[in-house]
């Protein structure tokens, strides 16, 4: 195991320990405040509207490969789906979920089924759909869902490329709120210009904590904050040592 791999293993173990410790501490200590992210504020409002005014929520969780680095943002999409499905499943228009990869569409159906069972609502298998098997056909298959199913708010949280612009623009044409977040840089550049409420970079991964998905989400967000400053310090220290020739 070379030096870099050893540092990597230590980092993962420390991060894991930090998450556990902060989760246990959060039971006794007051919960730390987080900065306000406008997108999540409007998302909570959209969920409220979905229940009272019967606006349907459309969640699209992307096309990332489940056995690759893009799986993490797909898991974030599934967490948001679970949170939303529990509160809007009993509304007049239950949420609809689209995805662009086989395994992720299977997981989205599982999440919908679990949420329905948790609140005792009836599960409709048509609510979780795979709309296309390639990036552009997935987007093309999602456009009719945005236009035809009385969608009040669109949430695109997952792995998207530049084709995300077509979905955001369709949401605007349909007159519904569009909130989007992705791990892909091209997707972020496009959603910053076209989405009403963009989630930039790491903000997408804070969805669970901001939507009250559990103490572990809050603990992991605080662990991210702490390890952020550890990495910044290591970079500064390393640059200094490299500059003076030690490293």
């Amino acid at each position: 195991m070379n030096q870099l791999e050893l540092i990597g293993l230590v980092f993962v173990i420390v991060f894991f320990g930090l998450m556990l410790t902060l989760a246990i501490l959060s039971r006794t200590r007051p919960v730390r405040q987080f900065r306000e992210i406008q997108a999540f504020t409007r998302l909570r409002h959209a969920v409220g509207l979905a229940v009272e005014a019967g606006n349907r929520l459309h969640l699209s969780i992307g096309r990332g490969n489940l056995i690759g680095p893009q799986s993490a943002v797909a898991f974030v999409g599934l967490t948001v789906l679970d949170r939303i499905a529990r509160s809007t499943m009993v509304s007049d228009r239950p949420p609809v979920v689209t995805s662009g990869e086989g395994a992720i569409s299977v997981l989205s159906q599982d999440s919908l089924r679990g949420a329905s069972r948790a609140i005792g609502a009836e599960f409709d298998p048509l609510r979780g759909r795979l709309t296309g098997l390639t990036p552009f056909s997935y987007v093309a298959g999602t456009l009719p869902v945005i236009y035809d199913e009385d969608v009040g708010a669109n949430l695109f949280i997952g792995s998207f490329g530049s084709e995300l612009a077509l979905m955001n623009e369709a949401g605007e044409r349909a007159g519904s709120l569009t909130l989007a977040g992705t791990d892909n840089l091209s997707g972020q550049a496009v959603l910053y210009a076209t989405a009403e409420e963009p989630l930039i970079g790491e903000e997408t991964y804070a969805s669970g904590a901001y939507l009250g998905a559990g103490a572990m989400h809050i603990a992991s967000l605080r662990a991210q904050d702490i390890s952020r400053w550890v990495i910044i310090s290591l970079i500064l220290l390393g640059a200094l040592l490299k500059l003076i020739g030690v490293l």
Binding site: S186, R222, A239
Partner: protein
């Protein structure tokens, strides 16, 4: 140009116009084109998955692989059948085992890929900016490299600091650190805007080339039909 090519070109011409009609608004012609497209793309992807994965990695080892290969191929075969039960809502719980397997591998790939594929290479690259000894070897002016290195370092740290989520509970009189963090976050926002603006221009360039290729195709398709009308040109 053979008949098949002519029919193909006509088809391509029609589909291009049908998709371009979306600019006017969502219309039945556009819907027709994209639904044909989704069916074709799904057909290709399904066959590629069968030809490139299921046949060479599951069926061939099962049918004429060695004993060890056959035993190894039995496990994914059983898990595969269980996963197929997810098609039916009633049998769906049977497929939870392969799904848990996939999620376990996916989560590990995410963590491992992030640490070894992004976190360390990017951090290491930020540190290597100040490797001035080697800079001399590639005769880049040292001063410019140092200045650029410092700007990249500040930009990277400011961008990373912008994403800081925690705020002090005393919102009325934020601490000195909070004010300083706010300032660093503003600098980070500027760097994020430059990066996303640059990538936005790159995506626009790619879209522009796609448009030019489609326009050349349309013009080259129509030109031979119109040439007899304008013999002089």
């Amino acid at each position: 140009m053979s008949i098949a090519d002519l029919v193909g070109a006509i088809l391509g011409f029609i589909f291009t116009l049908l998709v371009f009609s979306y600019i006017i608004g969502d219309n039945p012609l556009f819907r027709l084109a994209i639904h044909i497209f989704i069916g074709v793309a799904a057909g290709f992807a399904t066959i590629m998955a069968v030809n490139n994965v299921l046949v060479p990695r599951l069926l061939i080892p099962l049918l004429d692989g060695s004993r060890a290969e056959r035993i190894l191929a039995l496990v994914p075969m059983v898990l595969g059948w269980l996963l197929l039960t997810k098609i039916s809502p009633r049998l769906s719980p049977l497929g939870n085992l392969p799904v848990a397997f996939l999620v376990g591998v996916g989560a590990a790939a995410a963590v491992g890929g992030a640490v070894t594929g992004t976190l360390f290479p990017q951090a290491y690259a930020s540190i290597n900016l100040f490797d001035l000894q080697s800079a001399g070897a590639i005769d880049t002016s040292l001063g410019l490299k140092l200045v650029n290195g410092v700007i990249i370092l500040i930009g990277t740290i400011a961008t990373l600091a912008y994403f800081h989520f925690g705020v002090s509970s005393r919102a009325q009189q934020p601490s000195q650190v909070q004010v300083w963090l706010e300032g660093l976050g503003q600098v980070g926002q500027a760097f994020i805007a430059i990066t996303l603006g640059f990538i936005f221009a790159g995506i626009y360039s790619a879209a522009m080339v796609a448009l030019i290729e489609r326009l050349y195709f349309l013009v080259n398709f129509v030109k031979p039909l119109l040439l007899p009308l304008f013999p002089s040109s």
